[in-house]
């Protein structure tokens, strides 16, 4: 008897979400794929929010001719290839006009193979691995930069601006982080710097004391962290400072999240990171900020890229006047506009160029510090 009651109680818990929902008429559906559950749920949610913002902007401007409504189908990949493929198939079934996603390169690659079979346009806002666009898929686009652009930029920064001679590299063994760490190592050696050690931690680790003690012992000029997501990076920074490590911390674009400073607090001060240059003074950025911040809070790493990806997709559909992939692609290639995160113009292989610069954490904010051609930014 008792057992029944309890189960009924729990059943009630389940029913609640079903109460919410609705059906609509003639709509344009676009898809998004990002991890909404699991360890990278925070970054995945940023992506979803960015796309939602783009849709709301389009709707406010009168929508797209021929459609009453623009709708988002946000699919969860949980950063797991199998779920990513299921999500891609689901989106195909929903006959989406295009997909923004995914986050993890390891999800984007298999999902794009599936989407390619049905000629569906995919724009990734976050997967920086070279393989994403190097496989020659006709409908694969990328809004963010490439690892093989970021790594030399980071190495150049460490050599020229910080005058580093020795580097200690740590990565956390994901497609993205390891690829980047290897790239930095290669570029650093080519530029005549010494890589004292290249250590690995595992995804999901929280205790880095062993590897940090090693780094402290090595006492290199630079401690380069290549980690997936801001969360482990913030923890590592905090622990490094607590242990009294004196090497300069340099990290990469996945850490570009205001939460990094919130978690690491003072320990983050003075850390450098490379990230695609985003001009925060443009009217586009200001407008985005005005809509995004009150609704979803601080602007995070991939929200802007997701916004630009969705905007590009919707603009192309608007210009093409149809969702036919070949025509939309032709319009996408013609696009040339100032987005929130960057200037959007796609190259033939689907990349949109990288503009990596170094940021410095000053007073709990990311401040542009250095760029590869002109050097220090005043």
């Amino acid at each position: 008897m008792k057992k029944r009651i309890v189960s009924i109680l729990a059943m009630g818990l389940i029913l609640v979400p079903f109460l919410v929902g609705g059906v609509c008429a003639k709509t344009l559906t676009i898809g998004s794929m990002s991890p909404l559950t699991g360890p990278y749920a925070s970054d995945g949610t940023d992506i979803k929010n960015g796309v939602l913002t783009a849709i709301s902007v389009f709707e406010a401007a009168g929508g797209i001719a021929g459609y009453d409504k623009i709708e988002l189908s946000a699919q969860d990949t949980a950063c797991d290839p199998r779920q990513a493929v299921a999500a891609a198939n689901k989106l195909i079934n929903l006959e989406v006009a295009g997909v923004v996603g995914a986050y993890c390169s390891s999800s984007t690659i298999p999902a794009s193979e599936v989407l390619a079979e049905e000629d569906i346009i995919m724009i990734t806002p976050a997967s920086t691995n070279e393989q994403v666009t190097d496989r020659g898929l006709p409908y694969m686009f990328r809004m963010c930069g490439r690892d093989d652009d970021q790594a030399p930029a980071a190495a150049k920064f460490m050599k020229e601006s910080l005058g580093a001679k020795t580097i200690f590299i740590v990565d956390d063994k994901t497609t993205y982080s390891q690829g980047l760490a290897d790239g930095v190592k290669k570029a650093a050696i080519e530029m005549g710097m010494e890589v004292v050690n290249h250590e690995h931690v595992n995804q999901g680790d929280k205790d880095f004391s062993a590897v940090l003690t090693m780094a402290k012992q090595a006492n290199a000029d630079i401690f380069y962290m290549s980690l997936q997501g801001y969360s482990p990076a913030a923890m590592m920074t905090l622990q490094a400072k607590r242990l009294g490590m004196e090497s300069q911390i340099v990290t990469q674009d996945a850490v570009f999240q205001p939460k990094y400073m919130e978690v690491a607090k003072e320990a983050a001060e003075g850390a450098y990171l490379t990230y695609g240059f985003t001009d925060e003074t443009t009217p586009e950025y200001k407008a985005f900020e005005k809509i995004y911040v009150p609704k979803y809070g601080k602007i995070a790493a991939y929200a802007t890229y997701a916004y630009d990806s969705a905007t590009a997709l919707l603009k192309a559909i608007q210009a093409a006047g149809t969702t036919d992939p070949a025509k939309v692609k032709a319009e996408l290639m013609k696009l040339d506009f100032q987005g929130v995160a960057k200037h959007v113009k796609f190259a033939a292989n689907g990349d949109s160029g990288s503009s990596y610069i170094a940021y410095k954490v000053v007073d709990g904010k990311f401040v542009p510090y250095w760029e590869p051609i002109k050097g220090l930014i005043k």
Partner: protein, 303 residues
């Protein structure tokens, strides 16, 4: 040498935390032979409640005037909350299944673990919850070796909790009742020990210890996240088995060993394979001593 000592200190801190979590596993296992997968989530919930309480105290302004009182209060609140959570979870998800096969309860526990961690995600958000950083800042430096105040606090608090648990289990009437229930439920019922009460109590104590570990974790690593319970949960479970499941002293030793192996494995051999070393030690020990280091202490009616 300095390097070795530094890694030893790291290992003790981490091992202490594992030991605290492992105790919950081992105690619950001792009384109802259930691997309580949701235990890692009690640990995470403790971390969250601690963060919420500390933030609240900071918000009303007590934090600056009475930091020690606030911290103690947060510990007590989190431990009470997790005990409350655990007792309810036991009543809902495990008690109705006590008569069924152990695998059914195991699955229910797994479902509970998924449910709780996602519940925390939905109520607390997907981002890390930050701990106030001003507490116990600073460190002692001896040459290359450095010990932070936090580490000292964590290790000593862990020691206090472990000693008081030992006293509770081995020196009081309640402890005797717990041990009796763990050894033979039928016999202990005959001498008027209410097994339901004892089981609830065991869950409460185990979850309370996990909550304490959760706050220490938050203080030490600076933040907590909804999915943080899973991996420490598995490690702590290994630690409990390594020490001999159902054996409280064993869980403490097991926790320390797993922590040490991980740190030394990462520090001397290779960071990416550190979990492999921990598991190899576990498998090796169990191969030669199938009942764990300290031997098991449970009611195994089948033998």
């Amino acid at each position: 040498m300095e390097y070795f000592i530094q890694q030893l200190i790291n290992g003790i801190t981490l091992g202490g935390m594992y030991a605290l979590i492992a105790l919950g596993y081992t105690m619950v296992y001792g009384v109802i032979q259930l691997i309580n997968f949701a235990h890692g989530e009690f640990f995470a919930a403790g971390g969250y409640v601690g963060a919420i309480a500390l933030a609240y105290f900071a918000g009303v302004g007590y934090m600056d005037s009475h930091p020690v009182i606030c911290l103690t209060a947060s510990f007590l609140i989190a431990m009470a909350y997790c005990a409350y959570l655990a007792v309810g979870v036991e009543k809902i998800a495990y008690k109705p299944l006590r008569k069924n096969s152990r695998l059914a309860a195991l699955l229910s526990a797994l479902g509970m673990s998924i449910f709780l961690s996602n519940g925390m995600m939905l109520t607390q958000g997907v981002y890390d919850k930050v701990y106030p950083g001003e507490l116990f800042q600073g460190r002692f430096d001896f040459g290359m070796i450095s010990i932070s105040y936090l580490q000292i606090m964590i290790v000593s608090l862990t020691a206090i909790l472990l000693v008081s648990l030992n006293l509770l289990v081995f020196k009081t009437k309640i402890g005797m009742a717990m041990r009796a229930t763990a050894q033979d439920k039928t016999m202990s019922a005959l001498v008027a020990i209410g097994s339901n009460r004892i089981i609830s109590l065991t869950f409460a104590i185990g979850a309370g210890l996990a909550a304490a570990a959760g706050i220490m974790y938050g203080l030490y690593y600076g933040s907590v996240k909804y999915d943080m319970g899973f991996i420490p949960g598995i490690k702590a479970f290994s630690a409990a088995v390594l020490g001999g499941i159902g054996n409280i002293t064993g869980a403490m030793i097991g926790g320390l060993i797993i922590g040490m192996v991980e740190i030394f494995g990462a520090g001397y051999i290779s960071g990416e394979y550190k979990d492999v070393f921990a598991f190899i030690i576990l498998i090796g020990v169990l191969y030669f001593k199938p009942n764990g280091i300290m031997g098991e202490n449970i009611d195994d009616t089948r033998v």
